[in-house]
């Protein structure tokens, strides 16, 4: 128990505070959304959709081990409804673009593209097997009008 370097002590201090006073749940997602919203004024190549509604489903409605909720994002007359369900191991997203229109959907985690898929005239899509964590959806209309992007949300 000797020869502790300053770096050892500082690493221990970080571990102490990360355990005793961690970043509150949800704070990073809230700040990502706030920063994205502020930046959307200057990012002209992308329209930020805002989260306008969040609905929790009652636990047990679809079996006790799964959780599910619905998010509604909107921007200038386009709505994106997203139903997120998961069992802690994998998550599933069911999405609806309203009014229905063909778009290309990209699932982003930080700068990484997890999945891309084409959505047809129905505006419906499903992403059955996603690793839990934070992500954003980017919607590119096939008519090449300005793409939309959601704030980060947790699945």
């Amino acid at each position: 128990m000797s020869d502790l370097t300053d770096d050892d002590l500082l690493a221990g201090i970080r571990a102490h505070w990360e355990s005793r006073d961690p970043v509150p749940d949800g704070m990073t997602a809230r700040l990502q959304a706030a920063a994205a919203l502020a930046a959307s004024d200057t990012d002209l190549d992308m329209e930020l959709m805002l989260l306008v509604e969040r609905t929790e489903e009652l636990a047990g409605a679809r079996g006790a081990s799964t959780t599910a909720y619905t998010l509604r994002f909107a921007h200038e007359g386009v709505d994106l409804l997203v139903r997120v369900s998961g069992d802690g191991v994998a998550s599933r997203i069911d999405g609806w673009v309203v009014p229905p229109s063909p778009v290309n959907v990209t699932v982003l985690r930080d700068a990484d593209v997890l999945v891309t898929l084409e959505v047809g005239d129905t505006g419906r899509f499903e992403l059955p097997d996603l690793p839990p964590g934070m992500l954003r959806l980017r919607l590119e209309p096939v008519d090449e009008s300005t793409p939309f992007i959601t704030p980060a949300f947790e699945i």
């Binding site: 571990a15 505070w17 970043v23 954003r136």
Partner: protein
Amino acid sequence: MTIGGAATERPGEVWGQAASAFERWSAGDAVALDELVRVMTPVLWHVVRAYRLTAELAEDVVQTTWLSLVKSRASIQEPAAVGGWLTTTARREAWKVAKAHGRGIPVEDEELSRRLPDEDSAEAEVVRRDGDERLWQAVERLSERCQALLRIVAFEHRPDYTTIAANLGMPVGSIGPTRGRCLQKLRTMIEKNGDHDE
């Protein structure tokens, strides 16, 4: 023995990730901003909480910091500077808010706090390893001033002592020696093997 270990990333690595994300964001990748916020928010949280702000005020300060970055992005020429820019901005804002709320770090010279360590939650107790246990108890017995300074120094990469001095209300020349004394106290307490008699 190791203390803390790989559980927590070194500030230098965090700064590197932040620089990379900032560079991509500046080049037009809107999503890289998420990564930057994810990587740096924990650092900003710990730095701001060193000023003894409530959780709500601390989150406000961190949010203000991010909004300032978005507004001032063009003024940051060098991506590697973004980590320091963010922590300096957060400390300045935290200090302002702490003053306005009559909080802040006590200015008396550091001395060992006489209070016993706080009661820990059961979960916190379970995740501790032996080495951490001793170090963590020692951290809790440091003066608030030492705790604050070391918390800032631990999470920042090459912190700028001039700005730390300004918003801790200490002379610039005293930051380095105080840091050294606080670390030495910590080391001494650990080596006394968690002896509670002070």
